[in-house]
Amino acid sequence: MTQTRLSQGTAALEEMFARARERKRLAFLPYFCIGYPNHEESLRAIESVAAVGVDGFEIGIPFSDPIADGPTIQAATQIALENGTTVRKCLDAVKTLRDKGITQPMLMMGYANPLVAYGSDRFVRDARAAGADGLIVPDLPPEEAAMFADSCEREGLALVFMLAPTSNDERIELVTRHATGFIYVVSLTGITGARKELPVYLTEYIARLRAKTDKPLVLGFGISSPEHARQLRGLTDGFIVASALLRAWERSFADMRTLAGDIFEAIQN
C-alpha cells in the first residue's frame, strides 16, 4: 500500500492534480489542526483519512487570533494551543506522518505571526525538511508575501494565495500571477464554517476566475457534505473541507472518518 514519494512541493501538487484529472474527478483536501483534540489524535485522524485515499491535506497551525475563522475552527485551534501545540510541533507532526508512510501532499496552513516569529526563511526550510509541500497563510496577500516568496521558490514549495468573491479583476490578475501550487478560492464572502448550501453564484464566479488563469482552483469555506462535493464536479480542480469534519468529530472519531469517506466516495466516477 505504501507508495514511495517521488516528488515534493509544487511538483507533488502538480502530480496530485494530474492524477485526479486522469480519474476525471476533483482533488479532495481535508483540513486538520495539529493538536486538536490532542497531538496523537490529530495525527491518528490524518492517517485514518489518508487511508481513505484523499488527495492531500491542509495541516493547520493554531493561532490565538484567527480572524478569518468561524467558531468551529476557532474552538479547535484554541484547544490545540491549550495542548501546547507550537509551530515546531506542527512541523514535527508532518515529519512523523511522512515516516509513517503518508504520501499525499501536505500544505502548512497558519496565520502570519507564528510563522514570522519562527522565522520565515527558517520555517520554509524546516517545512521542506519535514516533508511539507506548500504554505497557505490567510492573512498574507501577495503584496506582503515577499518574506516567504523567495524562500518558497528556493525550496520548491508552493505558496498558495486566496481569491474571494470580492476580488476584482486587478486583484485576480495579481493573485493568479503570484500563486504557486494552486489558487485557494474562498467560496463566499465570510469566515470559515460549515454551511447548508453552496452559494448560488458559484458557477458564474468560478467561470470568471477560470477565464483568467490556468492554475488549479481549489474551493474552500463552507463545503460540508457529499452533496456539496458532487455539485462541484466540473467547476474546480479541488476542494477543502474543514469545519464540517471538525463538527462531525465533535460527535465521534468514527463520524468524522465516515464523513470524509462519504465525501471522497461522492467525487468518484
Binding site: D65, G70, R88, N113, P114, P141, L163, P165, T166, N168
Partner: protein, 407 residues
C-alpha cells in the same frame, strides 16, 4: 482654511504600501483587500474635497465643541515645583473623549461612500460611544463589538451606546477584551464587507486606518500647538500622551513632529509592573514584545516565543491591548518619540491627584499621561512647559476606581 483640521504633509508617511519605515502594511484576508483599496481611494478623494473639510469642520465646531481649550494646571504645577503643566482638554469634547474626532471623520466618509451599516470595536467604550453618537447624528446603523470583560468594567458606556441606538455585541472569545473585539469586528467585516463600513477606533489595523485615524485626530495637536503659543509665547518642551493603540498620542504628536525642541513622550500601561508580566507596555518589555503582525499591521506585539498573542493587563480598558499603532513603532525607532510607562497604582494616584488639585477627573487612560507629568515636571525648570493630552474624562471609570480604592 481647508487644511486647518487635517494637515497633509507631502513628506509624510506612510508610503504607498502603508508603511511607516518597517511598520504598518496590510496583512488581511483577500476578502477585504478590495474594500481597503476602496476605502483608501474614497479617503483620498474626500480629503481633496473642500466640502468634506467644511462639513467636518462644521461638526467639530457646532457639535463636538472644538476647539477644546487648554487649561493651565496651576495648583498641580505649584505642588510639583517644576515645569508649568498645561492640559489639552479632550475630556471636554462631546462624549467626553477624543474618540469623537475620528468617529465623525470616518462617519462622514462612510456616508459619502454610501455605506449604511457601521461596525466598530471598543475597549473602554469611548470609541463605541463616540461611534454610536456620530451614527445617531448621521442616521446610520451601528453595531459595536465589545469584550464581555470590558462590558463588565465599563457599564455606564454600555448603557450610553444602547441609549444612542447602537447594538452592543458581547465578545466571548479569547481574553474577552479589546483585542478580541477587534477580531470579531474583522470577522463581521469579512462577512458583510459589501454593505458595511468598519469604523476602526485607533491608529492601528491595516492601511489606510493608521494614517486615516491619525489625520482625523491631528486636530488635537494642530489646535494645541497654536493655543500653547498664544498662552505661553512658546512651544512646549515636552508633550505627553497615553498610548494604547495610540490615537490620541499620534493626534497630539503629529503637529509637533518637526519641532525639534518639543520632546514627545508616550505613556504605556505598566499594569502591575514589568516584572509581573501583567501589563500592556509593548515598548518596555522586550522579553515578550517584538515586531510582529496583529490585526492587519506590523508593529510591536506582545507575544510568546511561538508567536501567540499574549493577554495583557491594565486597570484602564482603553490601554489593555497587546499591540500599538505602527507609526508609534516608527517614531520610537527614529527616536523622535520616547515611550515610558505608568503602572496601575501610579495611574490611580494621578487620577486622585488631578481630581483634588485641579477639579478634573481624568479617564484612567489619560491618568497614565498625568502620572508621567507628575514624575517629570519636578525634574524640569520652572520656566519650561509640559503639555499633557487629557484625552478623556473619568466618569466612566468611577465604578472601577470605587472597586479598587473603596468608597
Amino acid at each position: 482654511m481647508t487644511d486647518l483640521y487635517i494637515r497633509k504633509d507631502i513628506s509624510d508617511l506612510p508610503d504607498a504600501r502603508g508603511y511607516f519605515g518597517e511598520f504598518g502594511g496590510r496583512f488581511v484576508p483577500e476578502t477585504i483587500m478590495p474594500a481597503l483599496d476602496e476605502l483608501e481611494n474614497a479617503y483620498a478623494e474626500a480629503i481633496a474635497d473642500p466640502q468634506f473639510h467644511a462639513d467636518l469642520s462644521h461638526l467639530q465646531r457646532t457639535y463636538t465643541g472644538r476647539p477644546t481649550p487648554i487649561t493651565y494646571a496651576r495648583r498641580l504645577s505649584e505642588a510639583l515645583g517644576g515645569a508649568q503643566i498645561y492640559l489639552k482638554r479632550e475630556d471636554l469634547a462631546h462624549t467626553g473623549a477624543h474618540k469623537i474626532n475620528n468617529a465623525l471623520g470616518q462617519g462622514l466618509l462612510a456616508k459619502r461612500m454610501g455605506k449604511r451599516r457601521i461596525i466598530a470595536e471598543t475597549g473602554a467604550g469611548q470609541h463605541g460611544v463616540g461611534t454610536a453618537t456620530a451614527m445617531a447624528l448621521l442616521g446610520l446603523e451601528c453595531c459595536v463589538y465589545m469584550g464581555s470583560v470590558d462590558i463588565r468594567r465599563q457599564q455606564p458606556n454600555v448603557f450610553r451606546m444602547k441609549l444612542l441606538g447602537a447594538e452592543v455585541i458581547p465578545v466571548e472569545s479569547g481574553s474577552r477584551t479589546l483585542k478580541d473585539a477587534i477580531n470579531e469586528a474583522m470577522r463581521d467585516w469579512v462577512t458583510n464587507v459589501e454593505t458595511t463600513f468598519y469604523l476602526l477606533g485607533s491608529a492601528l489595523g491595516p492601511h489606510p486606518y493608521p494614517m486615516m485615524v491619525r489625520d482625523f485626530q491631528s486636530v488635537i495637536g494642530l489646535e494645541a500647538r497654536q493655543q500653547i503659543q498664544d498662552m505661553t509665547g512658546q512651544l512646549p518642551d515636552v508633550c505627553v500622551a497615553c498610548v494604547g493603540g495610540g490615537s490620541n498620542a499620534i493626534g497630539l504628536f503629529h503637529a509637533f513632529r518637526d519641532d525639534a525642541g518639543a520632546e514627545l513622550i508616550g505613556v504605556e500601561a505598566g499594569g502591575r509592573g514589568i516584572a509581573s508580566k501583567e501589563h500592556a507596555a509593548r515598548f518596555a518589555d522586550l522579553d515578550i514584545s517584538r515586531p510582529g503582525i496583529l490585526h492587519g499591521t506590523r508593529s510591536f506585539v506582545m507575544q510568546d516565543e511561538d508567536g501567540q498573542i499574549m493577554e495583557t493587563h491594565s486597570v484602564s480598558a482603553g490601554l489593555d491591548y497587546p499591540s500599538v499603532g505602527p507609526e508609534h513603532a516608527h517614531l520610537r525607532q527614529l527616536e523622535r518619540a520616547y515611550y515610558t510607562l505608568a503602572t496601575d497604582d501610579e495611574a490611580l494616584e494621578a487620577f486622585q491627584t488631578l481630581s483634588k488639585l485641579e477639579g478634573i477627573i481624568p479617564a484612567l487612560e489619560s491618568a497614565h499621561a498625568v502620572a508621567e507629568a507628575i514624575k517629570r515636571a519636578p525634574t524640569m525648570p520652572r520656566d519650561s512647559v509640559l503639555l499633557v493630552n487629557l484625552s478623556g474624562r473619568g466618569d466612566k471609570d468611577l465604578d472601577t476606581v470605587i472597586g479598587i480604592l473603596g468608597e
